[in-house]
């Protein structure tokens, strides 16, 4: 058996098929260990796969041996490889990081189910990214969504239940919208394979259903991606989920939806629908700008640290969408590389918050006042990742913002305004990161607050690994930019 050729399917079935086994493990800590090892293995697969894609170009895998479009096809190119790295990487670090924190929140009795669900999220997200079939994508979307609901509902806070329910309703509506869109396209083309769809849409005479399908798919995925103003479910879902799970979900769950959005809009619709470019720009640019302005502004006034970071994610998703909306290679490169960089910074930030919550038992800013002295390493990592989020040079965040702003300047007069908007939003990011820094370093511990000490070494080690990753990928951009540039070129290849 030639393992290399099977890598695309291994990427999905390694976590997928370990999940049932993990759900049966009844020895304490064993589910965690199994999930971590499996996730690490999936990461190794993703790394190898990326190497192969870089060396030999996109890979296709015909499931069941049936040639597409009759069978289901897996298709991994530069763009999907980058996403696979994000998903498996974020999962692995969050698991390696979160043992103590998750033991505290989830407990041993629930652990087998919890870690099985975690692996299902990984498998589902990998499936979304790797599949080349529109309906198969829906199936994986649902696997990852259902498993995500389980992760969020495992938190001890009762408000997690309400957050789960809202996410479940809106997530299902989003997925169903997507399904309607796919149905309409199938009705007009007779195929479900994405590549085949691209070819056959060109021959469709009656465009109305395709147009409506584009609308439904966009709105459905925007819901899943927490795009402003459809982000209502997201801040609470992030806030009340178990802390380590937030670090994982915030890094990649919305990213997969954005990935599909970009893929559908640019490869399926853009080449064959007249005026689609104008529609995409006209639809996304205002929403993206509102997203990063309002998201950042709300974050400034938020006192719950996790919700603050949630709103900051709304803003960051705005940047990514802006990169999509400008429809230039430069902008798209920025957007795609920001998918990766945002995952880096957000998982570091949420891990730091998890450390704080682990010791302080709260994520409310007033309760965390003065924590900088007792937990210098945790707060140091937080500040580092915060700088990355602001976009300070030498951090990963700078790279993506640099590309986005250059793309804005290239876009013409409106671009200057957009660049201004990005800068305003960055300033707001300074404000909310600074708010935390000031509370942590320049305010005394409140009277009668819990005595703090530094987080356990295992957590700190992983936290710092990711925090330093923010610096590493701010300097050595060969891998991330290389993949992103190639992906952008492919996506826009026959588009603009």
């Amino acid at each position: 058996m030639n393992l290399d050729a099977h890598l695309p399917i291994l990427q999905i079935i390694v976590p997928l098929m370990t999940a049932p086994v993990v759900s049966l493990l009844r020895v304490p800590s064993l589910p965690w260990a199994a999930a971590t090892v499996t996730s690490g293995l999936a990461f190794a697969v993703a790394v190898t796969l990326t190497g192969q894609v870089l060396a030999g170009g996109p890979m296709s895998y015909a499931l069941g041996g049936w040639v597409p479009p009759y069978g289901i096809e897996l298709y991994v190119d530069h763009f999907s490889a980058l996403l696979l790295l994000i998903i498996t990487g974020a999962s692995t670090v969050a698991l390696a990081f979160g043992k103590a924190s998750l033991d505290q929140e989830v407990g041993h009795e629930r652990a087998p189910m919890f870690y099985a669900a975690w692996l299902l999220v990984v498998a589902g997200l990998c499936g979304i990214v790797a599949t080349g079939d529109a309906f198969n994508l829906f199936v994986f979307l649902e696997i990852s969504s259902l498993a995500t609901y389980v992760l969020i509902a495992s938190a001890p806070d009762r408000r997690a239940l309400m957050a789960t329910f809202r996410y479940l309703i809106l997530g299902t509506v989003g997925a169903t919208f997507y399904l309607i869109g796919v149905g309409l396209i199938y009705m007009m083309t007779g195929t479900l394979n994405l590549a085949d769809m691209t070819d056959r849409i060109a021959e469709v005479g009656e465009l109305r259903p395709v147009l409506v399908a584009a609308g439904f798919i966009t709105v459905g995925l925007a819901l899943k991606a927490a795009m402003f103003p459809l982000h209502a479910w997201m801040p609470n879902a992030y806030t009340f989920a178990p802390h380590a799970a937030t670090a994982f979900l915030a890094a990649c769950s919305t990213k997969a939806a954005i990935y599909v959005l970009i893929r559908f809009d640019l490869t399926v619709f853009l080449p064959h629908l007249s005026d689609h470019a104008e529609q995409v720009s006209g639809f996304f640019i205002p929403l993206a700008v509102l997203a990063f302005l309002i998201g950042s502004a709300v974050a400034v006034f938020e006192r719950n640290l996790k919700r603050m970071l949630g709103y900051s994610s709304v803003a960051q998703i705005g940047y990514i969408l802006l990169g999509l909306a400008l429809l230039s290679p430069l902008a798209l490169t920025g957007a795609i590389v920001h998918l990766f960089n945002h995952a880096l910074m957000k998982s570091a930030l949420f891990m730091a918050v998890a450390c704080l919550a682990f010791r302080a038992g709260s994520v409310q800013l007033p309760d965390l006042a003065g924590c900088g002295r007792a937990m210098p390493l945790t707060m140091g990592a937080f500040v580092l990742a915060g700088l990355s989020m602001i976009g300070v040079p030498l951090t990963a965040g700078f790279v993506s913002k640099w590309y986005l702003i250059l793309a804005c300047l290239e876009y013409g007069p409106l671009g200057y305004v957009l660049a201004g908007g990005i800068l305003v939003s960055s300033l707001l990011a300074v404000a909310y990161v600074w708010k935390v820094v000031e509370a942590a370093y320049f305010q005394p511990r409140p009277e009668g607050a819990r005595e703090l000490r530094e987080a356990p070494p295992a957590m700190l080690a992983v936290l710092w690994l990711v925090a330093l990753g923010n610096v590493w990928f701010g300097i050595d951009t060969d891998l991330t930019l290389g993949l992103a540039e190639q992906a952008a070129a492919t996506l826009l290849g026959d588009g603009s």
């Binding site: 058996m1 895998y61 499931l63 009759y70 309607i180 199938y186 009705m187 007009m188």
Partner: protein
């Protein structure tokens, strides 16, 4: 004639849907939604989708209704009525009408129903109809597509079910009751049906036949409507019926919980395992042709095994979910 009947049924669907939304009695709403599913199933049958009709009837009218009723028993049977609460809410109405309007706008360029020249009947699907006899060699094309051509979707589907199973177990499985009940009370509650002689005798007599029917549906899916999913649902229904008649504790004695959990996991693993074996034998994942000398026999074997996997997981999950609900006492 069918057309008129179809139009009548569809109109009925809309009426039932409106009634569901307007009803403040949740018990009535659940019952109506069971009727909704049955109407839907009849519609599917009229549209020549026998497998889907069977599934919709089993799932929508059967499983979903049982689940909703179990949940209602644990929550509340009535929507809270607020002063002026019956009034329509405008924003949701606008959103809903915009969505519906957009779709109706699109329909005017949809291919006409039943038109053999519609794109869906020109591409991909004809290939399945043409090649199934040769490649898979079974009469039910739906099963061929489901199990083999798009077997990966079905694997995903099994894992969706699996996820729901462990999800419900994780969410409900932990704290058993909030209100402490004496064992006598629990006993009384659970054995309520045991003293009604006629349903008990009739029911008990039916359980083996239902199980037999499940086996038929399971293994005859290649030739007629049915397959692992429907069979799993039917088998679960038999055990649930037994639990209702004899008490939940006896139901659990018949199929103990550790067995259920192993079923939940092993069915999914069986399905995936078949795929992995195909890989080890040199084919692609889920390429059953390599399982035997003759490709089509390999397909038969593969389909048999994966349908079995589906059936095991589905019945396991449905029973797990049922127990998880039934075990909780209502306050």
């Amino acid at each position: 004639m069918t057309l008129v009947f179809g139009v009548f049924l569809l109109t009925l669907l809309v009426i039932v849907a409106v009634a569901i939304v307007r009803s403040t009695n949740l018990f009535a709403a659940v019952m109506l939604s069971g009727i909704f599913s049955l109407l839907m199933a009849v519609n599917f049958f009229l549209l020549d989708a026998a497998d889907v009709a069977l599934t919709e009837a089993a799932v929508g009218a059967g499983v979903a209704t049982v689940l909703f009723l179990s949940a209602l028993a644990l929550t509340a049977e009535h929507e809270q009525v607020r002063p002026g609460g019956a009034a329509l809410q405008w924003l949701p109405l606008v959103v809903a009408f915009a969505t519906g309007g957009l779709l109706i706008y699109a329909t005017f360029q949809n291919p006409v129903i039943g038109d053999p020249n519609a794109p869906v009947h020109q591409h991909v699907a004809p290939w399945y109809l043409e090649n199934t006899p040769e490649l898979i060699d079974i009469p039910n094309v739906v099963t061929a597509v489901l199990g083999s051509f798009r077997g990966f979707d079905t694997l995903g589907e099994v894992f969706v079910v699996f996820t729901a199973g462990i999800g419900v177990l994780s969410i409900l499985g932990l704290r058993h009751t909030l209100v402490e009940m004496t064992s006598a009370e629990i006993d009384a509650r659970q054995r309520s049906l045991r003293h009604h002689l006629i349903p008990r005798v009739v029911g008990r007599g039916m359980v083996p036949f239902i199980l037999l029917f499940a086996l038929y549906v399971q293994f005859h899916g290649e030739y007629s409507p049915g397959g692992g999913f429907q069979a799993g649902a039917i088998a679960a229904a038999a055990i649930i019926l037994y639990s209702l008649l004899e008490g939940d504790d006896r139901g659990r004695a018949l199929v103990p919980e550790w067995l259920l959990q192993i079923m939940v996991a092993s069915g999914a693993l069986l399905f995936g395992g078949v795929g992995v074996v195909c890989m080890l034998l040199g084919g692609s994942f889920l390429d059953y042709s390599v399982l035997a000398e003759v490709p089509s026999e390999g397909q038969h074997l593969g389909l048999l095994l994966i349908e079995l996997g589906v059936g095991i997981t589905v019945s396991g999950v449905l029973l797990t979910v049922f127990h998880a609900f039934a075990r909780r006492a209502s306050r």
